[in-house]
Symmetry: none
Subunit: 138 residues, 2 copies
DNA sequence: TTAAACGGAAACTGTCACCATAGCCTAACC
DNA sequence: GGTTAGGCTATGGTGACAGTTTCCGTTTAA
């Protein structure tokens, strides 16, 4: 009997793929923000990096999470976009550029998920901030 | 070896869509002429009826026939228009109305395909008819 | 020997950019 | 007065392309 057994497989291959996928997009987005890359990954690029077929990636992510790969990618991009919009120094166009959108598409993309345009989102954010400050000073 | 095989699929899904598309526009135009409907179908309406995406409809028709969906739609409308114009009772404007055009656009539409305006077409048609009759009476 | 992993074709959904033109009005022309 | 042309703008259709889903065939490992 072997005294040492391999650690029990916590995740099946499916979950390994899912975890790897999430790591890859996190790393890629970090690279994008740091300016180390300037092109947005496509699903094909991620599948290539994981050495599996794009269709198989799509199927596996959907199977383990109930959501398609794009969902997570887009969610993370939205989180970054919202965060950058709270910085009044950055123009909407420059944020769009960093996220590899052309300005027009960035607005469409953002509005589709957030319901409001980037500019509206920024304005509402600062209005809310001002109200908070007033609460303190009164 | 199976003695009975299913009949070989003659038409792939693509051809099924194409056939259905042609049926739908035929039926719709018949409805229009009979006054059962007064609005011209758009590609979206046909796609809805076939339960597929408009883009997919467009791409599939183009793939199987080499022509875009509009081509067939417009061809059939032109056939109807030419036929109605041979009836001297119907004014050009009333024909336009039945085909859901405003008079000005109908002329433009007709000329684009036929090279001549509706009125010219009608006149040439009757001139040709008269010549035929003269041939007989001489 | 069988169930998961994987490859891959085909059908389908969806977005975007481009542009021809329908729609609408006015004006000109038989 | 019915027909046609001109001019403007909003928009529908298209073609290209990315992604998803379904389905099935192979391989692989237990």
């Amino acid at each position: 009997m072997a005294a040492y057994t391999l650690p029990k497989k916590i995740a099946a291959r499916q979950h390994e793929i899912t975890a790897d996928f999430l790591m890859v997009i996190d790393r890629h987005l970090a690279d994008l923000l740091a300016g180390r890359v300037t092109e947005m990954y496509e699903i094909r690029d991620i599948a290539d990096e994981l050495h599996i077929h794009p269709t198989h990636l799509s199927n596996t992510i959907k199977l383990t999470t109930g959501q398609a790969p794009c969902y997570f990618f887009e969610e993370k991009i939205m989180t970054i976009a919202r965060s950058m919009l709270t910085d009044p120094q950055q123009s909407v166009a420059s944020i769009a550029a960093i996220l590899t959108f052309d300005p027009s598409n960035f607005t469409k993309f953002f509005k589709r998920f957030q319901g409001v345009t980037p500019k509206q989102y920024r304005e509402e954010y600062w209005r809310a901030e001002r109200e908070k400050t007033e609460m303190l000073t009164i």
